[in-house]
Symmetry: C2
Subunit: 303 residues, 2 copies
């Protein structure tokens, strides 16, 4: 049942659990105040889809709580039309139904709730990593953060370089299919929204395990490789949020299956290290020496 009553009603198929999550995007914190509304609508849903991907859930329904400044409602209805177009472009792709929401006047604040289905007891969790597991990441890391550094004038990219990196920041791709296909293959998973070190750290904390990863194994774009001698690029790779790729761990015996999945989805899946007993994350540099991590992730209150 769609919008219209005081609440939406959903039926859950027998044998399924629901995965439910909420993510808020705030002007000036998650996006620039003058951000393109189409991309904003798209990204707002994408970051929520990414939470479903991390659980291996099939996204089904969304709610949208939109707080809008008066000027966006009264003077420029094009804003809302473009925002909606971006939102529904992605929603339609994954057959996600908007079933409810709330619209209020106030400083721009985009709250989305997403609800997905997953077979009971099968959801991917952060807590399942086992000693000996390979650590994998999907796609390439760091481009979104590199583009943000450029926008914040902390680094200067060539025009063709920023053109290559910006889509990762503005219209990230949630790994929705990958997440669902990892059920039964992966022991643990998380989406990389706060940065690889922080998010892998969440897996280690929840699983009560240690890990070692090699920085040269972390997949990244040619642009990021070019700047790899600069500490800011290392930060992008290890601590850059907004990539929305998946990090997961799986038994070594599943390597072939995961490589086949990579081919099938035409999505790079790369082994970057291993899970051990113990606690803590070790990152080895190109020479095999343990690195000191300056920043372990993106903290929305301090970054």
């Amino acid at each position: 049942m769609g919008t219209g009553d005081d609440a939406a009603l959903i039926s859950v198929p027998a044998g399924a659990e629901l995965a439910i999550s909420t993510d808020t995007l705030v002007s000036g914190k998650h996006f620039f105040a003058d951000a393109d509304p189409y991309r904003l609508g798209y990204k707002s849903l994408a970051v929520n889809l990414s939470d479903m991907a991390a659980m291996g859930a099939k996204p089904r329904w969304a709610l949208l709580a939109l707080t809008l400044p008066e000027e966006l409602v009264n003077q420029n209805t094009a804003w809302l039309a473009e925002f909606s177009k971006g939102f529904f472009t992605l929603a339609d792709r994954y057959h996600v139904e908007l079933i409810g929401g709330d619209t209020t006047a106030g400083p721009l604040n985009i709250g989305i709730q997403i609800i997905g289905e997953v077979a009971a007891g099968k959801a991917l969790r952060r807590s399942g990593a086992q000693p000996g597991d390979d650590i994998w990441v999907s796609g390439k890391l760091g481009d979104a953060a590199l583009a943000l550094c450029h926008e914040l004038q902390q680094i200067t990219l060539e025009p063709e370089e920023i053109a290559q990196c910006l889509p990762s920041l503005l219209t990230p791709v949630a790994r929705v299919e990958l997440g669902q296909r990892l059920i039964g293959l992966a022991h643990s998973a998380i989406d990389i929204s706060d940065g690889l070190a922080a998010d892998l750290g969440h897996i280690l904390a929840a699983s009560e395990k240690a890990a070692c990863i090699n920085i040269i194994d972390i997949p990244c774009s040619a642009v990021l490789k070019k700047y790899r001698q600069q500490s800011i690029a290392i930060d992008c790779l290890l601590a850059g949020g907004d990539d929305y790729e998946l990090c997961f761990t799986a038994a070594k015996t599943n390597r072939r299956e995961i490589e086949k999945l990579s081919v099938e989805l035409t999505l790079p899946l790369t082994r970057i290290g291993e899970i051990y007993s113990g606690a803590g994350l070790t990152v080895k540099d190109a020479q095999g020496s343990a690195m000191t991590l300056d920043s372990k992730g993106y903290d929305h209150f301090n970054a």
Copy 2:
């Protein structure tokens, strides 16, 4: 499963549907910037519980998306402690579990999502009103709006009068038990969050019916009665939001059952009019003449 993973997981009992809703409270719009945080936490959940009540659903889970100004996080952690105390006081009363959320820095914005259970196909809807149905409201209407008028210096209440009205505005009571008990008794229901005329209007629109109510039958406090000669008090009664009482329609044959329920819940349930074929809402004054409605409800963009 509580917070910790990228999404919360919930299992739905066989034969149940989920009712899901989201309501956002924005500083300066839904509450004064210096509002007491305990009451704010309480009310934020109450308005969401009210949506469950309107559907006849049993509230089970909530998510909290909190956008907080830096000063509330950094300098005054008492704010968050008090807010939480208010939120959990009410959550505990209804055994509602907080299963997830998101915390972000930015202008104060409180987004809550609530999920409840209701027997499949049994939820109360806006669309079920039948000709000949009695129109009922719970509790008393208008005190919340009257208190707001006083706070906005549109009317001046005596100190003991404002003390009587303020709780309706600051810590409204969601009619959670009543909603669940109305399943099988009521043909349609809504919670009065935008004002009686607007919310009953939603029932009429969804049901494609007309209604006539008598203003002298609308239950109100002695305080509101005292000011009833002033048009502002009439506005409070018909168009005052924030009451969070229920308005419902039921067959005349259910009168005795509903009166028994009123006694059992020690909650006044009052008949205020009747549903007819056709369209539109007629409000009759004390002399039985149709009134002209100046304002039909509270619009968050124009009020």
